[in-house]
């Protein structure tokens, strides 16, 4: 049956977004709205000794200046990832409770004024005095005190992953590769700043919040304030990008609620761009060291993979680097160890393929090096080590597709025409190289019951509802498709409603699981309503379907039919929902549906697989790397909509290019704060950097990941891209990048000036 699922349906909210009528959290008009501005700590470590508020309080339009003295105490809430569906503060520390400064930018005061401009100006008039202590803000400063935590992610993930014996495997190897890698800290830099509007009506709190999970916001604020969740409603339809920065619920959300309570007015807080670097986490600065052992015919005998990274003074947080890196290849011996350094930063958080983007970079760069040393084609080396089971558990993959992805990507990039020797191709001043990497991203089953509601009117139109908001992925479009197919009606007759905690609960679409978990609930609600109406029809003596088995009834275009049952020449017997409902004097019908994921220890390996290929041009004289072509192939289970899936994957691939070549937040260790906290100084790609991008979607059947067999397409798009680019740089130049972002100075240091290679006319830089 051909339905709406899988069709390239344009975004249902596209017109609203491009005409500006889609409403984002900062755009909700409220009477008497006041504006808040946070004053962040100017030091990284020490104490606040005094806060002079008089000048700010006297400034025009100022309603209040809040400090720790006027801030109520909040409850302690443990740190757990938002994927679980419970309270999810971004860090266990909550500011403005005492005078201690743990990191630069930590809120120490809040100004509330009648206008945004007044609030911003008055914030500059707040005079904060400090007693400053020495700070630690880089791994280098804290390396002597590095430690191995017991667990990460609030106890959810082990800090150490082991199978077999890496030492034995390395000893048994014919050949070893060892390499160390450094990764700059990254910030998400979503276009829409984190924004909260808080309104109190008695003891009822309404929040409009730019977030990835409205339920997480509701439950976190409730836990911190000691309120019942029933007192808090969060309304968020559209979010302007997140990339992990809005997955956890950061302190400013609750601070805004407390400020609104204090001034007895609705209060809006929109973080200025600079504070986006100190308010919503980041991908931590990290170093990784990897050792591979292999036999001469290219079978891996051992992987030893260690990571050290910087975390906050109060939380053991590292993005877990050894998920995919331990699962991609059927290597009997694996050792992955996370070590942490405590420093004066906020707690790091999920950032674009957390853990995997960096862990797979190290692994896939080392695999490329191993292939070179063995004289085996890099794709062939991967093929020799592929595994049909999750090597950590021995369970079979819920669905696979990696071999097909390798094949499809290789065809797109023209791998068979590749001369494997470095520096084998040139275009004027540009050395050309091609590289590849395997990719995967976890399908995680941490979430709780997902719910949705389907409501049909007698005219055959439906409203389908679930809580989760849209943050740019295309959820309203694909959920409309899923609901339409579940009900057996046209997508044009479905209105999908979302973004309200009063609607049936669905969790935070994080970790690339939104399509899987929300579609499962929507599908189950829609089919529950369909089945309710079918049951009514087959038990109704007046229905042409009377007596049919419910399983034999099909619904399409709002018409229920039983194949082969009709009078000759008149098609199958059947009737429409409208016929049925009108005959029964029903104005509407409704059903809820829910979906519980399999338990986390379900006996399957759970990854979404892909393969990444990159063609780069390197101007070795000037140290420039420009990407000419990215080709990615992915096996995300069932594809709900190829347009939105491709769009997400392409975005992920461009972020991978960005991680490889541009992104890095630089710490000034003397001042203890980020030195490039602006979009002028923190580089992300512009359109001129975007190469030709091919995305191949390879559908694989998955009976484990929900009723529709959907996995996820978000973050796997980023995994492996940086490695493919680094490997392409090596192919172009013979130089192996060891640090991200790959920068001009790395290439200049490694590559001598080109001698008389530039030809006239081709000399000008692109």
């Amino acid at each position: 049956m051909t339905g709406a699922i899988g069709q390239a349906i344009p975004r249902v909210d596209g017109p609203a977004k491009v005409t500006g009528t889609a409403r984002y959290s900062g755009e909700v008009p409220l009477p008497d709205l006041a504006y808040a501005e946070i004053v962040g700590a100017g030091i990284a470590s020490g104490r606040v000794t005094a806060i002079g508020t008089a000048a700010a309080e006297q400034a025009a339009g100022v309603v209040a200046v809040l400090t720790r003295r006027s801030m109520p105490k909040v409850a302690a809430v443990p740190l757990l990832p938002s994927l679980l569906g419970g309270p999810a503060p971004g860090e266990t520390f909550f500011p403005m409770q005492d005078d201690v400064v743990h990191y630069a930018g930590q809120p120490v005061a809040i100004v509330v004024a009648d206008t945004l401009e007044q609030a911003r100006h008055a914030a500059t008039l707040v005079a904060v005095s400090y007693a400053e202590d020495p700070s630690v803000t880089t791994i280098g400063q804290g390396r002597p005190s590095a430690y191995e935590p017991g667990t990460l992610f609030g106890g959810l993930m082990p800090a150490r992953t082991e199978r077999g014996s890496a030492a034995d495997g390395l000893a048994a190897a014919d050949l070893q590769v060892a390499a160390g890698f450094r990764f700059a800290a990254n910030h998400h830099n979503a276009l829409e700043a984190l924004t909260t509007i808080a309104t109190w009506d008695g003891d009822q709190l309404t929040l409009h919040d730019s977030c990835q999970g409205i339920k997480a916001v509701q439950l976190t604020v409730a836990a911190l304030l000691g309120l019942s969740p029933s007192k808090i409603r969060v309304l968020t339809e559209y979010v302007g990008g997140a990339f992990g920065s809005k997955a956890m619920v950061w302190p400013h959300v609750t601070l805004t609620a407390l400020a609104a309570q204090h001034v007895r007015r609705p209060v809006k807080l929109a973080l200025p761009r600079g504070q986006m670097f100190t308010s919503c986490g980041h991908r931590e600065e990290q170093e990784q060291h990897i050792e591979l052992g292999a036999t001469r015919d290219g079978r891996l005998t051992a992987i030893r993979h260690h990571k050290i990274s910087l975390t906050s003074p109060f939380d053991d947080w590292a993005e877990p680097a050894f998920g995919v890196a331990s699962q991609l290849y059927g290597c009997p011996n694996f050792e992955g160890v996370h070590r942490l350094v405590r420093g004066n930063t906020m707690t790091p958080t999920f950032t674009r393929a957390p853990g995997e983007a960096a862990g797979v970079f190290s692994l896939e760069c080392a695999m490329d090096e191993l292939a070179g040393q063995l004289g085996i084609d890099p794709i062939e080396l991967r093929r020799r080590n592929l595994t049909e089971v999750d090597p950590n558990t021995g369970y079979p993959w819920s669905s696979y597709g990696l071999p097909e992805c390798l094949e499809a990507g290789a065809a797109r990039i023209g791998w068979d025409r590749r001369d494997p020797r470095p520096r084998s191709e040139r275009d004027g001043n540009w050395l050309i190289g091609t590289g590849m990497a395997a990719a995967a991203y976890p399908v995680a089953f941490f979430m709780h019951t997902q719910r949705a509601r389907a409501h049909m009117y007698a005219d055959g139109t439906a409203i389908v509802q679930t809580a989760a908001q849209e943050f740019g992925t295309g959820a309203p479009t694909v959920m409309t498709q899923v609901a339409a197919d579940g009900l057996g009606i046209d997508p044009g007759n479905v209105r999908f409603e979302f973004g309200d905690t009063d609607l049936p609960t669905s969790g935070s679409p994080v970790g690339s699981n939104g399509a899987m978990m929300v579609s499962s609930a929507v599908h189950n609600a829609a089919t529950a309503l369909r089945d309710q109406l079918i049951t009514l029809a087959v038990t109704d003596e007046q229905s042409p379907l009377h007596g049919a088995g419910p399983a034999q009834v099909m619904v399409a275009g709002g018409r229920m039919t039983v194949t082969g049952s009709g009078p000759a020449g008149r098609g199958p017997a059947g009737e429409t929902y409208t016929d049925l409902m009108q005959r029964h004097f029903m104005n509407d019908a409704e059903a809820t549906g829910s979906w519980d994921p399999p338990p986390p220890d379900t006996p399957h390996g759970l990854l979404t697989f892909g393969a990444q290929f990159a063609r780069v041009a390197v101007d070795a004289d000037l140290g420039l790397v420009r990407v000419r072509h990215l080709a990615g192939a992915f096996a995300p289970g069932r594809v709900l909509n190829p347009v939105t899936a491709r769009s997400q994957l392409m975005g992920g691939m461009l972020w991978g290019m960005s991680q490889a070549l541009l992104e890095g937040t630089r710490m000034d260790t003397r001042l203890g704060r980020w030195a490039n906290a602006s979009l002028g100084d923190y580089l992300v790609p512009v359109n001129a950097d975007a190469p030709e991008v091919d995305v191949d979607l390879i559908e694989v059947e998955d009976t484990v990941t929900g009723p529709l067999g959907v996995k996820g397409v978000g973050e796997v798009g980023q995994v492996g891209v940086a490695a493919a680019i680094a490997n392409a740089v090596h192919h172009a130049t013979g130089f192996r990048p060891r640090e991200l972002p790959i920068s001009v100075e790395h290439l200049l240091a490694a590559l001598p000036p080109e001698q008389a290679t530039a030809s006239a006319g081709a000399a000008r830089a692109r």
């Binding site: 140290g623 541009l662 512009v686 100075e745 000399a763």
Partner: protein, 330 residues
Amino acid sequence: MRPVSYARVSDIDTAIATAREDRDSAFLAGGTTEVDLIRQNVLRPRLLVDINDLPLNRVEETPGGGLRIGALARMSDVAQVPAVRQRFPVISEALLLGASAQLRNMASIGGNLCQRVRCSYFRDAASPCNKRDPGSGCAARQGVNRGHAILGTSDRCIATHPSDVAVALTALDAVVHTRGPAGERAIAIDAFFLLPGDTPEREHPLEHGELITAIEVPAAPVACQSAYLKVRDRESYEFALVSVAAAAQVRDGVIGAVRLALGGVGTKPWRARRAEARLAGQPATREVFAAAAADELAPARPQPLNAFKVELAQRAIVRALTTVTDGGSS
């Protein structure tokens, strides 16, 4: 942002007089940098005098083959003038490699010369910065200084001059015409940009209320063979790590007239006079280019994070000279 008053004027005398009424006034042209810095509390004018209505937006050819560019001509407009494209391609290229299309449509050429530095410590309105807050120190010297200058620095300031087109204009000996309370002046562009020395807060010799009216580019036949090379991390919308404005004439393999200026490396647009002196009359070969480049960078005072610019600038000079001399001779 602080409360600010705003006045819009339509003639130059009124502009100057209005600005002189308040010590804390500033002219407002395209505003593409200035408004950002006001919002960020880096610049704190009490009065903005909007000069966009002044009749200063024409680009004229001067007798003899030069240009006179009105101070309010927009970057994108100047870049498209046929005389600029044909006779001074280095100016057009430098303009088009600067900023973004939207900013170029707003930004004026006079404002471009007056734009403030991109040093993040200057722009954060908090760190020690002698340019923003004289005497407070320079956070950049021991800070994150990858983008900072290696030439023309002082103990007080190492901020890089950010303009691209000013580098091209410096190579071409442009003249800045001004009008102020004391009348009209013509300032050679190399004298218009001041080294930081002990007074990094002073970036040019303009008096309060003195207005740039035009930039004159003298005729220069060598400019027909000119190019602007800009090296940066991303492909567009970024300031230069290193840039080179180069013009050269080669006859029978020998370099005749040559102009060379550098961006991204100096505290002001850097006229490479040492290199020019080494090049004139020499064979147009990569070896000669490289020797001249090494000579120019010999006085560089790099910091740990920007030491690569010493090498990068030399390679970029060789590349730019190779380009404008049609590959040089091997």
